[in-house]
């Protein structure tokens, strides 16, 4: 049966083709389509109605006609070959090698759709990852097994930030040897893909990187498979070979647009902004593949990057992502414009898993106190700034002026740091306390008196103020 070929098609519509009078077709199985010119395309069954099957063609349908194809149903869902030799290789969006080094010798095949991880088989992630970036380490701590997206906009430095996280995260921790990166590009430009490749090479991690590239000029339907292939590889390396895998998915917005295009060509009823109603479930099936399996050594940590259209955080893509992921790192365009790198907007950023991965035994006992206080004080800075924009800074009360000063110093010395600067957690926390000393001690209402006594040193921030003048 598997070798039975069907000649011709009954309908072609966008990336979808329909075949009549087929039998024994199973839902979501892989399809191979041979064209007359000898080229081969692949597809997937997306709907069956009686003896009619609708197939989604990954490479697109251009050049296909109703009678120049031979279609073969493989009888299996989409699978990719898996082996530790994936490391160092480059694949296209559908998991086929494009680095000219031949096929991967497969130890086993993995269904790219994966299966839901049983909630009782998960281990709650607690092991924190030191990224050396103050705003992330102190205020939105990244945890091994977490999914923490970067919400960015076009033209902001999310790629630079992602590279810095990869470079600095991999040199901490006891079992550094088993660290690897899986990079899935969906609809990014050649330049961006190249930037990542060069950066990985320069920091000497290329042999520990697997790349899945679906660039912006590659077929759009293949884009829907790219993250699934990448995560299948990640799960294999993490849970079969005990590696700590960091998966970078960029750009999720392009992925969702591909999904929308596919959905509308299938004639589905659209939800918000034309995205299909199942966008949440679909994104969840990607993001939920991060985690740690009880009794296995490895972990899958995800950093999806998405560009918010028009910097709108309520757009369906960032919105649904935020509901699934365990926090978010939000980049702020006004910080970016003021020359601050990394331009992390501290207030809307959040790490949900941080509370259990910090404190005594993980980072330092005063960590949650200092980060809570920084959040609260920086939130007040925004109020003071709003007021200052109306009545002018000179007219502000003394305390509000102190907040203005604190806000400036915080952005200049805490948020901002060099692309190569790797701060230890102690440096970061001490820096936080020093900056808090710009405020009178009564204003620090989020901290126990005991901790405050231990860490609050008046005038500790003078070095910053002197440095400024």
């Amino acid at each position: 049966m598997a070798n039975l070929q069907y000649k011709g098609l009954s309908e072609i519509n966008g990336p979808l083709i329909a075949l009549d009078h087929v039998s024994g077709v199973s839902y979501e199985e892989m399809v191979e389509i041979a064209l007359e010119d000898g080229s081969r395309r692949y597809g997937r069954v997306v709907q069956i109605e009686g003896d009619k099957a609708i197939v989604q063609v990954f490479e697109g349908t251009s050049g296909m006609s109703l009678d120049n194809t031979r279609t073969r149903f493989t009888g299996r869902p989409m699978e990719i070959p898996l082996s530790p030799e994936l490391l160092g290789r480059v694949f296209n969006g559908a998991g086929r090698p494009i680095d000219g080094m031949g096929e991967v010798y497969a130890k086993q095949y993995g269904d790219v759709n994966g299966r839901p991880l049983n909630p009782v088989s998960r281990t709650y992630p607690r092991n924190y990852i030191n990224t050396g970036i103050s705003t992330i380490d102190c205020m939105t701590t990244l945890i091994r097994g977490q999914k923490l997206p970067i919400f960015s906009g076009s033209g902001m430095s999310h790629n630079k930030l992602a590279v810095q996280i990869v470079r600095q995260a991999q040199i901490t921790g006891e079992d550094n040897a088993s660290f690897c990166v899986i990079f899935a590009a969906m609809g990014v430009t050649n330049d961006v893909a190249d930037y990542f490749r060069r950066s990985f090479e320069e920091s000497g991690v290329m042999s520990k990187v697997v790349m899945f590239l679906n660039l912006s000029n590659d077929p759009i339907i293949e884009r829907i498979l790219t993250p699934k292939c990448a995560l299948t590889a990640a799960e294999y390396l993490a849970f079969e070979h005990g590696m700590h895998v960091l998966v970078i998915l960029t750009d999720i917005t392009s992925y969702c647009e591909a999904l929308r295009e596919f959905s509308s060509s299938k004639g589905e009823i659209p939800g918000r902004k034309g995205y299909p109603g199942y966008l949440y479930s679909d994104l969840a099936s990607l993001y939920e593949r991060a985690g740690i399996v009880a009794g296995r050594k490895g972990s899958v940590t995800q950093i999806p990057i998405l560009t918010m259209p028009n910097d709108d955080i309520t757009h369906p893509v960032p919105d649904l992502t935020g509901y699934i992921t365990e926090g978010q790192i939000v980049l702020d365009r006004s910080l970016e414009q003021s020359g601050c790198y990394p331009p992390i907007g501290v207030l809307p950023s959040l790490s949900r898993l941080m509370k259990d991965g910090i404190g005594a035994g993980f980072t330092r006992d005063d960590h949650s106190a200092v980060s809570n206080q920084l959040f609260a004080s920086y939130a007040k800075v925004q109020d003071a700034r709003a007021l200052a924009s109306v009545i002018g800074e000179e007219e502000l009360s003394k305390v509000d002026q102190m907040y203005m000063e604190f806000g400036r110093m915080f952005e200049k010395f805490f948020v901002s740091q060099g692309a190569d600067e790797n701060r230890t957690i102690e440096q970061t926390l001490d820096l936080g306390w020093k900056l808090l000393s710009l405020l009178p001690i009564e204003e620090l209402d989020r901290v126990d008196n005991e901790i405050l006594k231990k860490h609050y040193v008046e005038n500790a921030a003078q070095e910053f103020q002197e440095g400024r003048s």
Partner: protein, 594 residues
């Protein structure tokens, strides 16, 4: 050529059968060779539509569909507590044993442990007449909860035989009943109930008691009653799940049903971990002893997500019928509504608002109406309270799920992004939230906590209201130009916001605050306001009062006064008297006297 009922078409979780025979609406069916569980959702002359609760990858047309003759049912019996189920009550721990870390299609396992022996005490004897809802046996399900086996609601008759007290599994027959028609029925420890039908009760009782959660902003400002309904809407990162966790941990219900509906897998792991470590202050047992988890995470099949809410509330009703107070946490009902939308879209139904089906409001109301304070059929009192999280798209409360939920719940705890950004938790906005139970519960608060309670609460809310108005002015021209009595309102409102409303879930004393301490805190804040207001009326500047440090010391009461040493409040009253006394002496306030 009819080969029986076979699959005709497949589209995601929706499967159709042509020219089917013998199916009834809402009947549970087994689909395909792997025996995936599904449910009949529409029948027409030609086509029967089935929604499948599992991944349909690999399904083929022509595979058989087998009916079970019964609607989708929950198995009710001892062994529910401490367990973790998926949306259609399959025990996840047993599924892990059967299919490994990743859930395979068609895995099945009985809901209740079939091997475990329970120490059963019979409550009836032969020739007793029994009717639906009566207790015929009981066994300790966990050290904290006694499980009472109830005669199925539709059955009544005379007991003809009982087993001796002793150890039995859930399938052992322990009693026999002859009904009026002379048919003999066997009673075991378990029974089945269709998840989409509410279990019957004798009557609904008026609402009179609060569900105490230990969270100040809820208990004091926006209380929910036992048998009440509440919605917790909020954008991502505003603390919906955190609020639900806090309530599940500390509220004074006997049983907690926690439904993780389309949420994160790690969150469910966290609940499992945390609840087994935390000790219930009332029973001195781990919280898991009174908890059942239903986990249908966002990557698990969407149709089972739709069912999980009903499974949860059916389990809750079962324990209510035993005479317990049950709280259901549904996190999040938006995911459930989206599951409805997704299936409705696959059925090509005509969409209403934002693609949601037109029957969304009626489904939401059917769900929330299953809450209530009831007299059960065995004469006991029990309640089901439902607290549903809502995840509005783009944190926009005007979207259909939030709006429709608002119509059917009586408590609305609106979470606020700007409070969450400032790490003010619980981030419940006191200007947007409301509770319609205040009038019903006022008598209870005044009787059980303090006669002045409702009065204090009113003063607190009016101060917050005043502050809200003043902030409009402050935003434009700054606080310095306000007259002193208004500055005082701002100072006191800050104490209320930071010292009272904001609560630290990770602090050992602050995570749960008993009602009497909540009242004392209000009382001391209002006392300071009253005394300070007198001084201000005499012309003492607010700055002087601020410099006494009284405001700051009141803000820290929540940490400084342990929950079991409330006598320390007296010290604060004295301190207020002493320090303000000093200010009222002429020599200390020369400026004011001029």
């Amino acid at each position: 050529m009819n080969k029986g009922n076979v699959i005709y078409s497949i589209n995601g979780p929706v499967v159709t059968v042509r020219n089917a025979s013998g199916f009834s609406m809402m009947e549970m069916v087994y689909v395909g060779a792997k025996k995936l569980i599904g449910e009949v959702i529409s029948i027409s002359n030609e086509v029967t539509t089935i929604q499948v609760y599992e991944v349909t990858t690999g399904l083929k047309p022509g595979e058989t569909v087998e009916g079970t003759g019964a609607p989708l049912c929950a198995n009710l019996g001892p062994g529910i507590l401490r367990n973790i189920f998926d949306g259609i009550e399959r025990p996840l721990k047993d599924i892990e044993k059967a299919s490994g870390h990743f859930i395979a299609e068609g895995s099945s396992a009985p809901s209740l442990d079939q091997e475990k022996k329970w120490d059963v005490t019979l409550k009836v004897k032969p020739s007793d007449s029994v009717s639906g809802g009566m207790v015929y046996a009981s066994c300790p399900e966990t050290p904290a909860v006694e499980h009472r086996c109830l005669v199925p609601p539709a059955l009544s008759g005379t007991i003809t035989w009982t087993a001796p007290n002793g150890e039995y599994t859930v399938q052992d027959v322990i009693a026999k009943v002859r009904d009026k028609k002379g048919v003999e029925h066997q009673l075991t420890l378990c029974q089945r109930w269709p998840i989409r039908s509410p279990r019957p009760v004798s009557r609904r009782l008026p609402i009179s008691r609060p569900l105490i959660t230990g969270q100040r902003v809820l208990d004091t400002l926006f209380p929910i009653a036992k048998g009440g309904t509440a919605a917790v809407p909020g954008g991502f990162g505003t603390g919906k799940t955190m609020t639900q966790h806090q309530i599940a941990k500390w509220c004074d219900a006997d049983i907690i049903v926690y439904v993780g509906c389309g949420e994160r897998g790690n969150e469910m792991t966290q609940v499992l971990d945390e609840f087994s470590e935390l000790i219930d202050p009332r029973t001195q047992r781990p919280l898991t002893d009174r908890t059942v988890l239903i986990a249908n995470t966002s990557n698990m099949p969407v149709a089972a997500r739709e069912a999980s809410i009903y499974t949860g509330v059916t389990l809750a009703e079962y324990y209510r019928d035993m005479g317990y107070h049950v709280a259901v946490m549904a996190d999040s009902t938006s995911r459930w509504a989206e599951a409805l939308r997704e299936i409705s879209g696959r059925l090509e139904e005509m969409p209403a608002e934002e693609g949601f089906p037109a029957y969304l409001p009626s489904r939401i109301s059917q769900f929330y109406e299953r809450a209530g304070y009831m007299e059960t059929k065995c004469g006991a009192e029990g309640s089901v309270s439902i607290i549903g999280a809502v995840s509005p798209q783009g944190a926009d409360f005007s979207e259909p799920v939030t709006q429709n939920t608002k119509r059917f719940v009586r408590c609305f705890w609106a979470l606020d992004k700007s409070l969450a950004y400032a790490r003010h938790y619980a981030a419940i906005n006191w200007n947007l939230s409301y509770s319609e139970y205040l009038d019903d519960l006022a008598a209870w608060y005044n009787r059980e906590v303090d006669p002045k309670f409702m009065d204090c609460r009113r003063q607190i809310t009016s101060l917050l209201g005043e502050e809200n108005k003043l902030m409009e002015i402050v935003k434009l021209i700054g606080a310095d130009v306000l007259p002193d009595y208004q500055k005082l309102i701002l100072e006191v409102a800050k104490v209320i916001r930071v010292g009272f409303l904001q609560q630290n879930a990770f602090h050992k004393d602050d995570t749960y605050v008993p009602m009497i301490k909540q009242f004392k805190m209000m009382e001391v804040i209002l006392y300071l306001y009253k005394k300070a207001k007198n001084l201000v009326d005499f012309g003492v500047p607010v700055n002087f009062i601020r410099e006494t440090g009284l405001f700051d010391s009141l803000i820290k009461i929540k940490y400084e006064v342990p929950n079991d040493h409330l006598e320390q409040f007296d010290g604060y009253f004295q301190e207020i008297d002493r320090k303000l006394e000093a200010l009222s002496k002429p020599e200390s306030t020369p400026a004011a006297m001029e």
